[in-house]
Every structure is written in structure tokens, then in C-alpha cells.
């Protein structure tokens, strides 16, 4: 620990990663929290199956194969010859235990609510290597859901969450100095390919410029979530991070209850301008809540082109019909949602004002923002345009629609009966039909409901030191696989 600061010295053997914040815990069943998952997932612990972030296909990990035996039952074959970092062998019992612990216990694991809702799962093992999971309703995407369950040994505490987990992953936790750093050691008995770096070390800085400076200074090899300003440097790599920003318009309050006004707002936004000037060009204009690569993404809908005159005309028209377009709309955004968020909010406000609406900005903290985002929605706050960011990590639009498009969806302000029905129908489908049904659904919301003014599919910006080689993908933000990082033997790209 000399001149290199927290991240340790540049010894070429330690991979130093600088995050935005300290993980509150490393408990695997909380791995769907970004700040925990980025350290734990696929580094310390592994799930049965994993989703390929690029193709969207499911790949075997601790399960070698799976199939749906009845509409409500799936069986999994687990991998043999795998040991936990404490030396215990991995068996189907462990997998069953982990599922029980994450989904059915009283631990209130984050993954439980996030991926599985209320429904409990029935888990059975037969022999060391076979596992049967039974759901209450038919579930075509159960393996995908199970990709969120990190496998821990049977010895793990079931009464309380653990801070430092044991898993089967390529790295094991060596040491956690609270507030300062988390160090990992390569797990030498890892069943898969041994990673390049024998050691890894996480530190955290909340200021993006400091994270960037650490790469520049050679104090870290990887820095996450850099500011778009840094995009021009050759030490940064952008990657699509599955996040989509949008304005959610509260269709219950005038003037947003008028579709013309909502459509006008959609037309008022200068997506290209915002992306170029504020997001460093690191985003794609969006027309839907899910990015390409997610099941249900509709290739055919194009982002709305900015059309100020058209938008003004719509607003005027609405006004002529007695819609109180002068009422102040509150544009709520969250500090730190993404880099440049407050400028983006200002730009949106300005653009909305240009078409004759009255808008004020309110920057909120996470807790306050959540009050606006989640049902029960706050009362008596007037018309709200909520700047939100949605990340579909699971890769299936069903996760999006149930939250954002249902008229009673937890994160939706309104909707239509027709759409609700279609959502229910699409959820039961699989394969191409599923894709088509969801794609159609998304296009339909844009035509009939217009609850969202989609802004951009975001990109993350990763700082990478020249000494390493790493290809980020859409999952990098949630699951930074250290084993994919290699020493830069040859010149990088």
C-alpha cells in the first residue's frame, strides 16, 4: 500500500477497480442491488444459469442443462466437480438451499421481490445433481429468473444476511476494510478457466472526476460510471448499459391528461441535442422503454423527431379545447441518476417551455424521487413529469410492462384496459410470439397511451487502464466479471 493510494500499487498482479460507492453488503441474495451485484455476481458467487448479455441467450453455469418437464416444473442438472471456496463440494442440495434462502425465507432478500414477486417456489432435489423447481403458475422464463439467484453453500446463515459470502466463483473475498477497500483473491480451485489476475481490489469514489483521475494517474485499472466528458480519452470505453431514460407523464392531471399535450411534449424534445451536448454522444435516441437485445424490443418504432412547430400547434389546439396548458408542470428528476441529469432536466424544461407549457424543475434525492415513482403516488402535487431511468437487466420486456405499462402498474400512473389485457396475454407466450406480442405492445403504447416521452438508451462509460484488456457489455454495470479482464499483452484494439 504505497504511493498508489487505496487501490494498492501497480504491481501488475492486482486488478484495481474503482466503483461509485461502497457496497452496503456483499450478501448474495441482495445481488440485484447494483452496488452489491457488481462485486458479487459471477465473481464471488455464481447462479445456475447466466444470460449472455449480448445474445440474450441463457448459458449453463452451475447447471449444465435444464428443461421444462411440466408447465409448472423445471428440472436442472447441476455441475459436478465444483467446490465452494470453503472447500465443500457443490451439489444440487446447495442449489436448492440457495433458492429456498433467497426466495422463500424471511430474509426479505432484494431478489425475492424483484424477480419472483409473491410466489413461493417449491424446490426438490433428487441425487446430487438434479433439481426440480415447481412454480404456482406456469412460468416460461423461470431459468431466466433463476439466473438472479446466486448459489451459496448449505452452511450459510438462514436467519440473517451475511456480509461476506462464500461462493463458487473465480474470486474469494480476502479482506474488507470498511470504508476503504475490498480485496479479493483468485480462488485456485475454481472449476472454470482461471482468471488472469491473482488479486483484485475494489475501492470507491463518488466523484466521477476523481475516478477518471485515478485511471489517468494509474491508480486503478477499471473505473465505472465516468462522465461523458471523458469519452474522448482513449482510456475510456462506452457500452450500452440497458438503461433507458424517459419522462413519465402523469396522465391523471391536467394538462397532462390530454394526449395532445403528451404527444406535444414527445415532439418537443431534442433527443440528438441532449445526447450530443449533455451525454457526450454516448446514447441512442429512444422510442421505447427497452433497448435492443431485450426480448420484445421493437426495431420498427423510430424515435420522434423534434418538431417544435408541430408541438406548439398541438398545445394550442389543446388550449383551444379548454385544457389548462398554463398549469405548472413539475419536472422531477433525481440527483445522480446519471451524469448530466440536472442539465438534462434543464434542457427538457426549456424545450417544454418553448412549446408553450409551464414547467419547473425539482431535483430530488433518491427517497423523494421514489415517492414520485412508486405507487401510491403522492397526492396534490399537481401534474408531474418524472424523469426516470429504467434498466431491464433481465432481458425480457415482461419485467418492464408489468411495472410501467399496466394501468395499475407499481410504476405507472395510468394506462388503458386494452393494453392491460395485451400485457397479460403476452406474458404467457414464449418464443417469437412473445417477441412479437411485446413489440406490438410497445408500439401501441406510443400510439394510444403516450405515457412516456422516451429520451435515450443510455451508454455507460468505463475507464480502462492501458495495461488491461476488457470488453464491456450491457451487463457490465451490474455484473463486472473480473475473469473476463486480461492483461494487455498486445496493444489494445
Amino acid at each position: 500500500n504505497s504511493a498508489g493510494g487505496d487501490a494498492g500499487s501497480t504491481d501488475g498482479r492486482t486488478l484495481r477497480v474503482v466503483l461509485t460507492q461502497e457496497p452496503p453488503t456483499l450478501e448474495p441474495c441482495e445481488a440485484s442491488l447494483t452496488s452489491t451485484g457488481v462485486v458479487v455476481r459471477s465473481n464471488i458467487t455464481e447462479p445456475l444459469v447466466e444470460r449472455d448479455p449480448v445474445s440474450g441467450d441463457l448459458d449453463p453455469l452451475l447447471a449444465t442443462g435444464w428443461k421444462q418437464t411440466t408447465p409448472r416444473t423445471w428440472t436442472f442438472d447441476t455441475r459436478g466437480g465444483v467446490t465452494f471456496q470453503n472447500g465443500e463440494p457443490f451439489t444440487a442440495e446447495d442449489a436448492a438451499f440457495s433458492i429456498e434462502r433467497a426466495v422463500n425465507s424471511d430474509l426479505a432478500c432484494n431478489v425475492e421481490g424483484y424477480v419472483f414477486g409473491d410466489d413461493d417456489l417449491k424446490v426438490k432435489t433428487s441425487g446430487d445433481n438434479r433439481l426440480t423447481v415447481t412454480t404456482a403458475e406456469p412460468d416460461p422464463i423461470l431459468p431466466l429468473r433463476l439466473s438472479f439467484v446466486e448459489i451459496v453453500p448449505r452452511t450459510t446463515d438462514t436467519k440473517a444476511k451475511v456480509r461476506i459470502p462464500i461462493g463458487t466463483g473465480p474470486y474469494a473475498v480476502r479482506d474488507w476494510q470498511p470504508g476503504a477497500a475490498i480485496s479479493l483473491n483468485r480462488y485456485d480451485d475454481y472449476w472454470g478457466k482461471a482468471p488472469d489476475f491473482p488479486r483484485a481490489r475494489y475501492v470507491w469514489r463518488s466523484d466521477a472526476s476523481v475516478r477518471a483521475a485515478m485511471i489517468d494517474k494509474g491508480e486503478a485499472e477499471i473505473a465505472v460510471a465516468l462522465d461523458p466528458m471523458e469519452a474522448e480519452k482513449d482510456t475510456t470505453v462506452a457500452y450500452p448499459n440497458n438503461e433507458t431514460t424517459a419522462l413519465r407523464l402523469d396522465g391523471r392531471e391536467a394538462p397532462l391528461d390530454d394526449r395532445r399535450v403528451r404527444r406535444a411534449i414527445d415532439m418537443a424534445v431534442d433527443r440528438d441535442g441532449i445526447i450530443d451536448a449533455l451525454l457526450g454522444g454516448l446514447a441512442e435516441p429512444a422510442a421505447q422503454l427497452v433497448p435492443p437485445g431485450v426480448v420484445g424490443h421493437n426495431e420498427r418504432i423510430k424515435p420522434t423527431r423534434q418538431d417544435v412547430t408541430g408541438a406548439r400547434a398541438l398545445v394550442r389546439e389543446a388550449k383551444a379545447d379548454g385544457v389548462p396548458t398554463g398549469r405548472t408542470i413539475t419536472l422531477v428528476a433525481r440527483n445522480g441518476m446519471f451524469s448530466g441529469v440536472s442539465e438534462t432536466a434543464e434542457a427538457l424544461q426549456y424545450q417544454m417551455q418553448r412549446i408553450g407549457l409551464n414547467v419547473k424543475v425539482r431535483m430530488a434525492d433518491t427517497a423523494t424521487h421514489l415517492q414520485y415513482q412508486l405507487r401510491p403516488l403522492p397526492e396534490n402535487v399537481g401534474p408531474i413529469a418524472l424523469l426516470m431511468m429504467h434498466g431491464n437487466q433481465a432481458g425480457d420486456t415482461a419485467f418492464t410492462t408489468s411495472q410501467y405499462l399496466l394501468s395499475e402498474g407499481p410504476q405507472s400512473t395510468f394506462g388503458s384496459k386494452d393494453l392491460d389485457r395485451r400485457v397479460a396475454e403476452a406474458g404467457a407466450l414464449s418464443g417469437d410470439k412473445r417477441q412479437k406480442a411485446f413489440a406490438d405492445l410497445l408500439a401501441r403504447q406510443n400510439r394510444t397511451v403516450v405515457q412516456y416521452t422516451h429520451i435515450a438508451h443510455m451508454n455507460g462509460l468505463l475507464g480502462l487502464s492501458r495495461s488491461i484488456r476488457y470488453e464491456p457489455n450491457s451487463a457490465t454495470g451490474d455484473e463486472l466479471r473480473l475473469s473476463e479482464v486480461g492483461q494487455a499483452t498486445a496493444a489494445r484494439r
Binding site: A208, S209, D227, M229, D270, G273, I274, D276, A277, L278, N335, G336, S339, G340, S342, E343, A345, E346, A347, Q349, Y350, V361, R362, M363, A364, D365, A367, T368
Partner: protein, 396 residues
């Protein structure tokens, strides 16, 4: 340790001769005329003579003061306005012009005053001139560096939304001042009132007030800020209120200390012997004396308030866009430090310049308002000796 002594190059004769002395003598002679004129009318004997002699003396002294003031100020005394002919100079005019002259004597303070004046003018009238320029966005013109070719508004470059930094600086001046000034004034008023009351009465009332100050001081002000700004609305008014509340202890302590010291002064005792109620003693006797110190603290606090507002912006709980303050500009611009320095350096410079000017001016004002120190301003800087101390209450 003998810098008071200069080595005379040659033996200095004991008699008259220095230019300054000659000037003083002339002034004295001038002044003697009206004095002796009045004397002729009055009878003279005993203590009466004594009294009268001192009257003339005082009169002469007064007119001398004016004469000397004039001479030293303008460098050319108008003979038509010699003390003899001048019946009753308007004291207000004389006083105002004396202030200007004293300001002129302190170059640093004069520069400070000019800067502050400019800032105040810009804050008052700037927004009228620039119209909506500070808000007008042009995403295509994002981050243009300062240049002469882009018209007035391009002079200082543009920010990331393509807004003119100059226009934003102007508008931010208004916001910044409209936050800092009321915040300082509120805490000044409340804190001083409480502190004077506590200090004058002493005893239980004093300890009560001091405990209130302790509570406020040991409260994490960030907590209050977050609660008020996130839970209630994050308006400029609320920022003003928070800043005002958290700064109250500063004035409270200062005022208490001053009042506690002043309450045992003889003229306060004197007022009590007339039966003057405490409220009025505080208002008539204590407040006027404590005020310069309190105002100095206030000026210095001004700096603190601006910085705090800026730090709140850094944490995202300061002035909310699209309103803009210098602090917010610095905070928002910090990520462009490497690519577009002007967005953050210029407002930072504005803060530094304003507060340094205010501090310099406050130091000057302390001397200028103190009759016992004021004369120092008439000396050349080198010989001015110790100027007024920054009061110890300069507590952040």
C-alpha cells in the same frame, strides 16, 4: 524595536519649520478669527472666562478640523469657504463627503467598494438588461470557449447547454445576492436582538440564549438542509431560512459578548439612574456601539453563506435549476474543469472577488466608523500602524 525613531540625517533644529506644522499653524490662525470675534461681546472673569476660553478653543478646533479635512481631501482649500464666513456647514453633507474621502484614502477598500458596487448594480439591473439570455439554450453551441467574435454574450463562452456564461453570471449575481443578503440580514437581526437582550440582562436569560446557540451549533446543519430542501420544497426562500437559522449563533454570541461588556459601562449606569427601561437602554446605548462589530461579522459571514450555498449545490441540495447562482455554477461546472474551465472558474472568481472585497471593505468600515481609529485612514498606509482587528467572532 525602534521603528518609531528615524535617524535624522543632520541635526534638527528645535524650532519650528516642518511644512506640516506650518500648515497647522495657518489653519489655527484662520480659526482664531471667529473665536475672538465672539469673545469681545462677553464679560470676562473667573470661571466664566475659563468656560468661554474653552468655548472659543472648541470652536476653533471644530473649524480647524473642517479646514484640515478640506485641505487634505481636495488638496486645495477654497478660501471663500474659510471658517469665518461659513455660517453653518451642512453637517450631513460634510459627513458624507468625509466618508468618501476616507474611502479614497484606503486604496484597497476603494477598489473593494467599486467591485461591490458593480456587483450590486449588476445584480439589480443586470437581469433587466440580459432578459432571458441566461436561460436561452442552444445545444449546438455547447461549451464554446470565451471569444471576442461571438458578440457580447459569447465573451465569456457558453456552458454545456449553450447558454451564455456572461448572462448566467449576471443572473447568478442576482440570485446569489438575493440568497446571501437576506440570509445574513435575517440571522443578523434575530441573533443580534437575542444576543443583546441576553448579554444586557445576564444571568438566566444569558445562559438560556447561549444554550440555544449551542444547540444550533452542534446540530448538523446539513441535516436541516436536507430535511427542509428535500422534504419541503427546495426554494431559494428555504435556503435563506436554513442559512439564516444556522448562522444565528454567530451573531448571538457576538452581540451577547458586546452587550455583556457594555452593560457595565458608566453611561449605561447613567441611563439607569434616569430610570430608562432596559429595552430602551439596549436600543439607544448598546445597539449603536455593538453594530459596527456586528456588521463586520455580517460582512464576513456573507462569504461563508455564499460558500455554503455553493457546497449545498455540490451535494445537489442548493439552488435548484433553472435558477442559477454562482455556487451552483461552480458546482455544476466542476466536471468540465478540464474541458471547459470557464464555466467553473469564472463564477468561482466572482465569489472570491466579492468576498475579498467585502472583507477589505469591512475592515475599512470598522476603522472608519470608530472615532478612535478613524484618523489612521488619514495617514499614509505605511505609517498607519495597526488597523482594526478582525473581530474574534468571525466564526464560520
Amino acid at each position: 524595536m525602534s521603528e518609531g525613531i528615524t535617524m535624522p540625517g543632520e541635526e534638527h533644529s528645535a524650532g519650528l519649520g516642518s511644512g506640516a506644522e506650518a500648515a497647522a499653524t495657518v489653519a489655527g490662525a484662520e480659526a482664531a478669527a471667529p473665536g475672538s470675534g465672539t469673545e469681545a461681546a462677553a464679560p470676562a472673569s473667573g470661571a466664566g472666562a475659563a468656560a468661554r476660553a474653552s468655548e472659543t478653543e472648541a470652536a476653533a478646533r471644530a473649524s480647524r478640523t473642517e479646514a484640515a479635512d478640506r485641505a487634505s481631501g481636495a488638496g486645495a482649500a477654497d478660501p471663500a469657504l474659510a471658517p469665518g464666513t461659513e455660517a453653518a456647514p451642512n453637517p450631513r453633507d460634510a459627513r458624507t463627503s468625509r466618508w468618501w474621502r476616507m474611502l479614497g484614502r484606503d486604496r484597497a477598500a476603494a477598489v473593494g467598494a467599486v467591485i461591490l458596487g458593480l456587483v450590486a448594480l449588476v445584480a439589480l439591473f443586470g437581469p433587466l438588461v440580459i432578459g432571458d439570455r441566461a436561460q436561452r439554450q442552444d445545444l449546438d453551441a455547447s461549451l464554446r470557449p470565451p471569444s471576442l467574435s461571438e458578440g457580447v454574450y459569447g465573451l465569456l463562452g457558453t456552458d454545456v447547454l449553450g447558454r451564455s456564461v456572461l448572462a448566467r453570471l449576471v443572473e447568478a449575481a442576482a440570485t446569489t445576492l438575493s440568497v446571501a443578503v437576506p440570509a445574513v440580514l435575517c440571522s443578523l437581526a434575530v441573533g443580534s436582538a437575542l444576543g443583546l437582550w441576553a448579554g444586557y440582562h445576564g444571568g438566566r436569560r444569558e445562559s438560556l440564549a447561549m444554550r440555544v446557540a449551542d444547540v444550533i451549533l452542534s446540530f448538523p446543519s446539513l441535516l436541516i438542509a436536507v430535511v427542509v430542501l428535500y422534504v419541503f420544497s427546495p426554494s431559494a426562500l428555504n435556503i435563506v431560512l436554513i442559512l439564516a437559522v444556522t448562522r444565528i449563533p454567530v451573531y448571538l454570541r457576538t452581540a451577547r459578548a458586546e452587550a455583556a461588556e457594555l452593560r457595565s459601562r458608566l453611561f449605561v449606569d447613567a441611563a439607569r439612574t434616569f430610570g430608562t427601561p432596559s429595552r430602551k437602554i439596549i436600543y439607544w446605548h448598546i445597539l449603536p456601539i455593538a453594530l459596527p462589530t456586528l456588521l463586520t461579522v455580517a460582512t464576513l459571514d456573507f462569504c461563508f453563506v455564499m460558500l455554503t450555498e455553493s457546497s449545498l449545490s455540490f451535494l445537489g441540495i442548493g439552488i435548484q435549476p433553472p435558477e442559477v447562482s454562482w455556487g451552483l455554477m461552480v458546482a455544476q461546472g466542476r466536471q468540465y474543469l478540464q474541458t471547459a474551465w470557464w464555466i467553473t472558474v469564472l463564477p468561482g472568481l466572482a465569489i472570491v472577488l466579492t468576498t475579498v472585497s467585502a472583507t477589505v471593505l469591512a475592515a475599512w468600515a470598522r476603522i472608519a466608523t470608530d472615532p478612535a481609529q478613524r484618523w489612521r485612514l488619514t495617514l499614509p498606509t505605511k505609517r498607519r500602524g495597526a488597523s482594526a482587528a478582525v473581530p474574534p467572532e468571525l466564526i464560520p
